[in-house]
Subunit: 279 residues, 2 copies
């Protein structure tokens, strides 16, 4: 089974390695614009072949996994329309928002090509093929989005071997859940960091006094700016909904503090304490 | 040296233990409303004596450390005015906001009593004497607030033995730094948790999909509601300033997202990534 993986970053390379390790018949073909990544992939024996051009290797692929940043996934889904693909090819992606990806995949799906949107709740602060980890996907939730039962069956068959927990969802449900669990926390963490700008100018020693609370809450404020800009732009409506919900909730706390309303502030913290225990 | 510690919670009991371990002449007298805490303090040999009533043990104290919740510290500072204290007694507190404490201490200071406000950047999610840890203060920043050089000298002498890094600050500078490093992150974490309320009702499986980003960012959303209500109410102005600064910053992101302005969103994340590396 020839598996073309387009994008040998942390997610793509780790998925390729997990698939390679889980089945004897898997031959990985690695595609990346970055030649260093391709050389590294050869060096660690991840791939049987590499290319810097997806077009040149798709014709005999049994599976094509799109693991680039999300805007490139969307562009590639359009490019694939004009290429000759092997009959029965299964195309999947790893993008962290799904509604726009599924819309971009519609023309391929209408041509009868099997496409399954995918998103694993995995990944670290590291990036690139140097972060490759064959166990990155162990036991993680892995969302699949598709109305095509046969395609989902084949995707499950491929992914079951790597030990993920598969969950089928609708694209919009997926994106709303991710807005609250991931996009909103990233925006909030970055806003927290940025709101120290003036105080940091006034008191340059401020970082010496940051304890675990600040550090944990802002850790993802150091995430990759381009990746998170792309995620926000491609999960636009759900993220905006979550941001506005957060903003209303915050405004209520600010009003309560202005009014010296300790009861409302207590209830606010108490509700959070109860709810946080579910996570 | 008789050291009365009022409030045998995590901070007070751990400070008492660190002082006891650091000098042979220290005799700790533990005061708490909670009889279980007093029994535990005896059982672990932390104290030479205990009382549930501060008034009954202050007369021969060389040092009095107020380690209760902050509103109780303020009330106690008023109560102490009417009691007979040993000449030369040093009074300290451990409250996490300092401006209101220093104001409450003014009448004592005017009577010539040595008072030094204190706040250590230590503490865990645990609470009560069961969380006692003689190493809780190792290498942590410890703020001291006082204009009384002699009192500060004596407080330093007591605290140097427990291995803290002493920093002298003005009360208002301390409180503003804490607003950004601690109070604002706590409000934001709790707001993040609370803003999932509706989504959690719609999709009860939501917590299964929370990854490290959400968990880290919201960890302190499970903090003690009463303690944080007190901190917000006693660090009112600085917290409000930090909340309004955060709110403005967040509004700019929301407007940029509404306008599909990817450049502003990229700059926002990029600024945060740069700034976060200082912490």
């Amino acid at each position: 089974m020839r598996v073309v993986v387009n994008g040998l970053g942390e997610m793509g390379a780790s998925l390729a390695l997990a698939i390679k390790n889980s089945r004897d018949d898997a031959e990985i073909i690695g595609v990346d614009r970055n030649l260093d990544a391709l050389n590294k992939a050869k060096k660690i024996d991840l791939v049987v072949d590499t290319s810097s051009d997806l077009k040149s290797v798709v014709a005999d692929a049994d599976v094509i996994i799109l693991a680039t940043p999300i805007r490139a996934i969307i562009a590639t889904l359009h490019d694939l329309l004009d290429l000759t693909l092997k009959p029965g090819v299964l195309i999947m992606d790893t993008g962290s928002t799904k509604d726009q990806v599924m819309q971009a995949a519609q023309p391929l799906i209408k041509k009868g090509i099997a496409f399954v949107g995918g998103h694993a709740m995995a990944g670290t602060q590291r990036a690139g093929i140097d972060a490759v980890d064959g166990h990155l996907y162990d036991q993680v939730p892995y969302f699949l989005v598709s109305d095509d039962q046969d395609a989902v069956y084949r995707a499950k068959e491929l992914l079951n071997g790597i030990g993920v927990h598969i969950i089928r969802v609708e694209a919009q449900q997926h994106d709303l859940m991710m807005a609250y669990l991931s996009d909103l926390p990233h925006v909030v963490a970055a806003t927290l960091v940025n709101s120290t700008t003036q105080t940091l100018t006034d008191y340059p020693e401020l970082p010496n006094y940051a304890a675990g609370g600040f550090k944990d809450t802002t850790r993802i404020g150091a995430a990759d700016p381009q990746m998170w800009t792309d995620i926000l732009m491609t999960n636009h409506d759900a993220t905006l909904e979550s941001l506005e919900s957060f903003q209303s909730s915050l405004n209520r706390v600010i009003e309560a503090l202005k009014a010296n309303d300790a009861t409302t502030i207590y209830d606010f913290f108490d509700h959070s304490k109860q709810l946080r225990q579910k996570f």
